[in-house]
């Protein structure tokens, strides 16, 4: 199974890497998808979300062929070839978040959850993404990890939270996840993989109140949280995250301190096994971040806000 995931990861990387070579292949897939779309058109009423792209589409009506293509792709909720609107992104994120919460519930501590939402929302305000609503949650597991789903659904585990020492460290962890959302890392993976999935079977896993269109598209959404992103996506999230935390007024060394702590954990600790299958080793992340930061943050004076850091009982 792991092998399969890795093959998928490798093919995704090469897909993304060979832009020129990938184009023809992409065209081929596009044609196949269009065939599929036209076949299913009468039976699938389409959600056409209102987006800020609407004027562009209206404008495109003057030149019918490209506009037609775009609408075709949207009619199945498959915006695989055009990019996702914020509404679609949120819809996908909700599905993934709901699936993940099916594996692990939230910690039953409203003060904790509120505190994390306040810190996370403050950091997210500096990210420049205002077209989505941000949601933060602490998952009730001793596993040490954090997750981000598209559309602004951000999670960290109780096991990770317990290791934090101050608000700047929390802000650093959340900022890394917020960066995954703003850089659309998971969305890019989904876009590539679900394009392939769309050609195959679209068997619906029935679940109460879940979104069948999106579920068809992405399969079990929680699974993508176990999928490894390109390591450069993780390094990028560290770079963007450390800056986001600093822009929010925190000292920038929160995220590095957490990475330091994780680098010092015993390797056999089962609480980090999933983290290590999905992320580069913390020591590699520290080294990459160190190269990027060097002396650039020397003059940043932020706060660690240790005094009001919420401790889990």
């Amino acid at each position: 199974m792991k092998l399969k995931l890795m093959i998928l990861a490798v093919s995704l990387v090469s897909f993304a890497g060979g832009a020129a070579g990938g184009f023809d292949f992409g065209k081929l897939l596009e044609d196949r998808v269009k065939e599929e779309l036209n076949k299913d058109k009468p039976t699938q009423p389409a959600p056409v979300p209102p987006t800020d792209q609407a004027p562009a589409e209206a404008q495109g009506a003057a030149s019918p062929p490209p506009a037609k293509q775009k609408i075709d792709a949207r009619q199945l909720g498959l915006t695989l070839l055009t990019g996702y609107s914020p509404e679609e992104e949120t819809r996908i994120g909700r599905q993934i978040a709901g699936d993940l919460l099916g594996a692990v519930p939230l910690v039953r501590d409203d003060k904790l959850q509120n505190y994390v939402n306040l810190v996370g929302s403050w950091v997210a305000l500096q990210s420049g993404r205002k077209d989505i609503t941000w949601h933060f949650g602490v998952l009730d597991t001793e596993d040490i990890n954090a997750f981000a789903a598209p559309g602004g659904y951000v999670f960290l585990t109780k096991g990770l939270y317990r290791r934090l020492n101050n608000e700047a460290e929390l802000a650093g962890v959340l900022a890394h996840e917020i960066a995954h959302v703003t850089q659309k890392h998971h969305l890019k993976v989904l876009k590539e993989s679900s394009l392939i999935g769309a050609l195959g079977q679209a068997a619906s896993k029935k679940a109460k109140d879940s979104d069948p269109v999106v579920q068809n598209l992405i399969g079990n959404g929680a699974e993508i949280m176990a999928r490894k992103l390109d390591k450069n996506a993780e390094f990028e999230a560290d770079r963007v995250g450390i800056v986001l935390a600093a822009r929010s007024g925190y000292e920038p060394w929160g995220l590095p301190a957490v990475l330091q702590d994780m680098a010092g954990l015993p390797a056999k600790d089962s609480r980090t096994s999933l983290l290590y299958t999905t992320h580069p080793h913390p020591a590699d992340r520290l080294a990459a971040l160190g190269e990027a930061v060097n002396g650039r943050l020397d003059s940043v004076r932020g706060k660690d806000v240790a005094s009001r850091f919420y401790r889990i009982k």
């Binding site: 409203d110 929302s121 109460k208 879940s210 176990a226 390094f235 680098a263 089962s270 980090t272 190269e291």
Partner: protein, 176 residues
């Protein structure tokens, strides 16, 4: 310091006993040690990539370390906590063998707790109740700003970090 004369095994024992009050660390890239936690202070020594240090204190983005006979301040991001060399060797030896990388479904329960794994995520069924709970926890931008203001957090101008030019540090993590 006759420490340097005693055999490796004894040295390891010695390091272990020292770690009771100073945490071991490994230097991730060739670096300078400074007399103060500031790059404007005097350079007291240089350390090579892979060198072992004892971490004595932390201040902001700096760690006070002892490397051999020298003590000084080094950038936080240039040191990893823990012995065992830079990521490559140490990580492969320790983690490569010990984590469940080759078989993520297999659980190595050293901590006595079963960690979250891929299988848990694959089997997960959409939980509408928990999602509703999470969405109800959302706060407004105004609430977040007020919260930040209470502890004197203010927006700072910090430029984006450049994308590194050179290849990323090689990680055996990725390739095995």
């Amino acid at each position: 310091m006759k420490t340097f004369l005693i055999p490796a095994a004894a040295l390891a024992l010695c390091a272990a006993s020292v770690s009771a009050w100073a945490a071991p660390g490994t230097v991730l890239r060739a670096e300078k040690l400074y007399s103060q936690p500031a790059s404007t202070s005097k350079v007291t020594a240089s350390v090579a990539k892979g060198a072992s240090v004892d971490i004595l204190a932390k201040q902001g983005g700096w760690l006070q370390v002892r490397a051999g006979r020298s003590t000084g301040w080094i950038r936080l991001l240039s040191v990893r906590a823990g012995a065992g060399g830079v990521a490559g060797v140490g990580a492969r030896d320790v983690v490569g063998a010990a984590t469940t990388r080759s078989d993520p479904g297999r659980v190595v329960a050293v901590a006595g707790l079963r960690g979250l794994n891929e299988e848990d995520l694959k089997q997960a069924k959409f939980n509408a109740e928990e999602l509703a709970r999470m969405e109800a926890l959302s706060v407004t931008a105004a609430q977040a700003r007020s919260f930040a203001g209470q502890s004197g957090l203010t927006v700072a101008k910090v430029p984006d970090l450049p994308k590194p030019q050179a290849a990323q540090p090689a990680s055996t993590w990725e390739s095995n």
